[in-house]
């Protein structure tokens, strides 16, 4: 799975491409941690428009990122979430902590 980062005006946007399972999460968490350390953003957006699949390993990654953003006194949101990842996020209840928005109809812009 690929993660690409974009930092602008204090906002770090991380775009995920591929499948986020336990196999992918190990490297992904390290990459995420490095980018958060490098930029210490006020806002972090996880852009899931390219995310084809996610299981609870992705939930763990999101929660760890949230914890890190809390340490930075910043905010985390997850954007452009497709149907399958949204099913998993709904089951986990993370929307109580983190802003989650669905992919727009017909694909993300």
């Amino acid at each position: 799975m690929k993660i690409s980062g974009n930092f602008k005006n204090g906002m770090l946007t991380l775009a995920f491409d591929g499948e986020l399972d336990h196999h992918a999460a190990r490297d992904a968490m390290q990459k995420l941690g490095n980018k958060l350390d490098a930029y210490t953003p006020r806002f972090c957006v996880l852009d899931f428009s390219g995310l084809q699949f996610m299981d609870s390993s992705g939930v763990a990654l999101i929660l760890r990122t949230y914890k890190r953003m809390c340490e930075l006194e910043g905010r985390l949101s997850v954007a452009n979430v497709g149907p399958q990842p949204m099913r998993v996020l709904d089951a986990s209840g993370v929307e109580r902590l983190i802003e989650i928005s669905a992919a727009k109809e017909g694909g993300a812009v």
Binding site: D21, H22, M29, D55, S56, S57, Q84, V88, A91, S92
Partner: protein, 145 residues
């Protein structure tokens, strides 16, 4: 009970095989013409079960995972995932949402997701012997919602 089709796959508990297991389940269910949600729910549940074998059952080592898929009662997919790993000490606790013995790398949602995304989940485990998870999901197909 009529078994319309079956496949047995054995593979090592390496994380690269989480995707393999998901795809075996998906391809096996295809002839029942599942809709997108049924397919993705099945894949997600299988992903959780196999990940548990890798992360917990065979923690620190590599062992064998046996995945058996069957089609029963015409349109029910039954998938069992068995390991000969360390077994679950307290099964009731393990099934609680958010409980994990895996530290901060894990969300403790595996069993919760397996239960929510399938029609039936059974778990049998013996410490030192291994664990077997059996999932059943009725496929209503693309004509349904």
């Amino acid at each position: 009970m009529k078994i319309n089709n079956y496949i047995t796959a054995e593979f090592p508990s390496k994380s690269v095989n989480e995707s393999l297991a998901r795809n075996i389940a998906a391809v096996f269910a295809l002839p029942l013409d599942p809709n997108l949600e049924e397919l993705s729910d099945l894949k997600t549940a299988v992903s959780e079960a196999v990940t548990n074998c890798i992360v917990h059952a065979y923690a620190g080592t590599v062992g064998s995972i046996i995945m058996k898929c069957r089609i029963i009662k015409d349109n029910v997919v039954e998938i069992s995932i068995k390991d000969k790993g360390c077994g679950i000490e307290d099964l009731e606790k393990a099934r609680q949402p958010l409980f994990t013995t895996g530290g901060e790398d894990r969300a403790g949602m595996g069993f919760t997701i397996m239960e929510s995304f399938t029609d039936e989940m059974k778990v049998k485990s013996r410490v030192g012997k291994g664990t077997a998870v059996t999932l059943r999901k009725k496929i209503n197909g693309r004509g349904s919602k």
